[in-house]
Symmetry: C2
Subunit: 416 residues, 2 copies
């Protein structure tokens, strides 16, 4: 008998969909293509020699433990140095047992969905927001409520209005998800005042805040804004940190800081999901943090990415039509370009393919598809000359598109 | 406001429970304790120098890719050498694209539950069966139907009877789960005839077979039995292989071989779960397989574990009371002891704690708790002298328990 997959797959399994964006980007893998679309750290930002040194240390000191099964919550040595660092650098008051190690931040997002989203449960996110989070929450059939962004991050008034509206229909969201600092995709941060307000609102309506913080260390300019978690005294914030942008994404190492109740549930979730995280790279990461290499490396990455942002901004000024607008993020890996309202960046993508340059179309980051004339550009990955050439090509693409589309120069969508 | 976890956690999250066995075993961590309970490979079985060599190769050839994000399905180089090896050594006809890399076999089990088990869906397993699988399936609120084992593995007559009974009530199971070779916990294997029958029955009722094969390479005696997957021409079997017993469990590397439909769903599941597996150790594993080290290492591990099994069997013969029965598995890491029917190994555990020796109580592996007088012993992990001393202590524990419990020497439960 032929296998009847229709009977076998669960409804959640059936609702999984391949990311359209990922399919689009597959077209950009050919030679000569310039992709400003990816979200990859620069390979120059990998501390190869230091990693080699840390590995040698692990072979000399702990190799048998590093090759064996480990505790589900993660290597205590690593959780301990992370707790100390979170306290010292981030003002997050935590100890070893408040931390659980995950396979990258994505696993933390997946645990959040598993533990907090029944089918149809509502969660809140800004629009735009991080694609991977949407994917994790969609995998458990959560229902997304989008709040627009403004120049202080999330639009608090809109958030309050929407919460009231939901409340009237008997709905209280389970959590609000935010990349509060140098957001992927917009590069924008939530202001300190808004962070405080978010915490108050979360307490008022009794939902959690999921603070995803992959870029918080990559500050080029200005004073770092304290994480929402550092303002949290009630265990209302689940904080996600990661080694992906400050050591190596290939190691798949991240961590969650949360209340005891949540850490305990996540440990049980991890047990059934994959028993424990890779022990070998946990030991390597421990040597990396303990040896003080992490802090040196963050300096190096900041300098590198600051420079790359400037290269891209300079090229944008030089080549992009004056009708295009962009932000100048004070850190992170991305910036956000808004084009005239009559340009649809998804339709324009075909023209970009022809010119062998790629971006991510802005509407991909809008769960409600409420934006169509923007794009995300990544400045961390490419060589300087490649950024320059990519922006040149993209400028040509936009100019061509502007001459062929209806075009109203006085009217822009607020893209961020 | 205090966080109201009761509102926030999902029903699946609330049903997660800490493993009682794990809690029991935490008591056995103190100095001087001998644990025959764990399921750990022997650290002597870790090819430390070879791993070091493979890592050096990765640094010389592919280090930047090894530190970067990778494809969700896993490193193509690794999947290619695995496909060739599966074909050559196991008779499993597969190619690169039929394989997906996971974080240990546990992640594969979790993906199976995510994709095939709605709340209340039925799956089949033998009793006893592997605890980690029960945990993964329980996490998605699957409903377990237990089939007893006999000397050819699973009791086929009982399976047919139970399927008919279920069918009458409108229930068709989603899959049958089996560690077909040198099962954890019993050390027993399903015969070739029974494997063929299982495939026929699965086709007749249209369910999948999940073949979890961590111990299939560790054959001490006799001819290896072909995997069920090698007999499957319809994509009805999902095969799970792992590096945990033949390289290092700390690397968290396993793989799934399945039909295109299932591999595609698992890739989407993996994307939302953790994006991709650790790239660094995938490159290391690739060098390990490609360099021919894996096959040499398997020989080494087989010799080591064969010897350890013999050490344990010899000690059992010498010290255990004649009323105790055990099997002599032809491979793997575990053997199964059955005690007289009036002994309850869970109650006896207290006495074992006092004598500083640990086993896993047999009923833990029975989802229907239909067995209480058996235990699983691990022979792979401990030093020879430790095995000897552990069995001596355990013999004393059993003898003491026998003198204090009601004891009927003529009556045993069929433990395997």
């Amino acid at each position: 008998m032929v296998v009847n997959y229709d009977r076998l797959f669960t409804s959640r399994s059936k609702s999984l969909k391949s990311s359209e964006i990922r399919e689009l980007l597959k077209l950009t893998q050919s030679a000569g293509f310039i992709s400003l679309a990816g979200g990859l750290p620069n390979p120059q930002a990998f501390p190869v020699d230091v990693i080699h040194e840390c590995i040698e240390k692990v072979f000399k000191t702990n190799i048998h433990n590093a090759l064996q099964y480990g505790t589900t919550e993660g290597l205590p040595l690593l959780r301990d140095v992370l707790a100390k660092r979170m306290k010292e650098k981030k003002g997050i008051d935590c100890e070893l047992h408040d931390i659980l190690i995950t396979n990258g931040a994505q696993q933390a997002l997946s645990f959040i969905a598993y533990n907090f989203l029944e089918q149809g449960d509502t969660y809140i996110t800004s629009a735009p927001t991080y694609l991977g989070a949407l994917q994790a929450f969609h995998a458990y059939q959560g229902n997304c409520e989008c709040i627009p962004m403004n120049d202080e991050g999330i639009d608090i008034d809109s958030l309050r209005r929407n919460l009231k509206r939901l409340h009237r229909t008997g709905i209280t969201p389970k959590f609000l998800y935010a990349v509060a600092t140098f957001q992927n995709p917009s590069g924008e941060s939530i202001s300190l005042e808004h962070r405080k307000e978010l915490l108050e609102i979360a307490s008022e309506y009794d939902f959690l805040i999921i603070e995803d913080d992959p870029y918080g260390e990559l500050v080029f300019e200005g004073k770092p804004i304290p994480p929402i978690k550092s303002l949290d005294t009630k265990g209302r914030v689940v904080y996600i940190g990661t080694f992906s942008k400050v050591l190596a994404p290939g190691f798949r190492l991240a961590w969650v800081v949360a209340s005891e109740e949540i850490i305990n549930k996540f440990a049980l979730t991890k047990q059934s999901s994959d028993l424990c995280s890779n022990m070998f790279v946990q030991y390597v990461a421990y040597e990396y943090v303990k040896g003080g290499y992490l802090d040196k490396q963050i300096q190096h990455i900041k300098t590198l990415y600051h420079h790359k942002r400037d290269v891209m901004i300079k090229a944008l000024k030089e080549y992009f039509p004056k009708e295009a607008k962009w932000n100048v993020p004070g850190g992170g890996m991305f910036l956000w370009v808004t084009l005239p309202k009559n340009i649809n960046t998804r339709l324009m993508f075909k023209r970009a393919l022809a010119k062998k340059v790629a971006y991510v179309v802005g509407d991909a980051f809008y769960p409600d598809s409420s934006n169509y004339n923007s794009m995300r550009l990544n400045f961390s990955y490419s060589e300087d000359e490649v950024i320059l050439e990519g922006i040149k090509r993209l400028a040509d693409v936009i100019k061509e598109e502007m001459t062929t589309s209806y075009y109203d120069k006085d009217y822009y969508v607020n893209g961020v």
